[in-house]
Symmetry: C2
Subunit: 180 residues, 2 copies
């Protein structure tokens, strides 16, 4: 909501960073506090438990995702192309929030999995009017999921995710198969 960065936001940033780069196991309250530059007690003033900290991440994700769904809907180059070309982004706030919550979801956290499913469903609704049928929607969504999971798993390393011209060729292929 405002600057300068409150301790609360710094804690959330640190939690997110640790989840992305070192995984759920490493993102303990102590590590998060250290990474955020506050004490354990200080962290626990803002988030009274680990669950509250996780809930804070979900709230951040919901806010950023709502903005992105609007961006998908109104993208000048068309929703499908925009949606797919941004699926492999890894540095932007939304992508970081998704990856962080994804780490929690794969860690067995059912609430986190439900948050991701909700975001995914809202993208599906935004894309539905622009594809031929349900199979085409599945195609677009699953290619996006595939790009995301490879990006998130490989943490910036040169992995199997298509980039540049390869990504552009893939998007042309998907659009041909799916566009209404």
């Amino acid at each position: 909501m405002s600057r300068p960065p409150h301790a609360r936001e710094k804690v959330l940033d640190a939690f997110e960073r640790l989840l992305i780069t070192e995984g759920e196991r490493a993102a303990t309250l102590e590590s998060v506090a250290r990474e955020a530059g506050v004490s354990k007690g200080g962290l626990l003033y803002h988030f009274g438990s680990r669950e509250a900290l996780e809930e804070g991440m979900y709230a951040r994700l919901r806010m950023l995702a709502a903005e992105d769904v609007e961006a998908v809907r109104t993208a000048p180059e068309g929703p499908i192309s925009y949606f797919l070309s941004t699926s492999g982004d890894v540095g932007l706030p939304l992508d970081r929030a998704i990856t962080a919550v994804g780490r929690l979801a794969h860690g067995g956290n059912a609430a986190a999995a439900a948050e991701l499913a909700a975001v995914r469903a809202s993208w599906g609704e935004a894309l539905r009017p622009h594809v031929r049928d349900d199979a085409a929607l599945d195609l677009v969504m699953l290619v996006s999921d595939g790009i995301y999971v490879n990006s998130a798993l490989m943490n910036d390393l040169p992995g199997p995710v298509p980039r540049g011209e390869a990504l552009a060729a893939l998007i042309r292929l998907v659009e041909t198969a799916a566009r209404d």
Copy 2:
């Protein structure tokens, strides 16, 4: 290698089961030992450390994946169709091993991520001769990744993964776009 199930295999089964159903955090040595019906000391006789236990899972994955790559190559209905139609399986030994190692990978374990990347690459090699070009290979691989990640994340719950006729329609769409 043989029956009756040695304690070693029971431990590995328990580790796999806990990773899949409750995530990495819950899969502690103590929980794994309890789930396997052995003591912590008994477990540590077979796997001297947590790392050794993880390495045991990688070995299991490598063995099952090698078998599956052969099945993809020789599938009567064609490699693409077979590959995609089995991407959403969740109960078979290979799928369970992949999901378990996936949990570790998303938990920030670089070795686990490398194992998954290697398996993925071997599938890519098997499929390459059967697709039109690199973009088509990307399409098939990413749709498969998407199906897998949704299946693994949703743990059997009725999720966003296409099944039955919806899956068949998706596969026809992908084959039309990708097949050589």
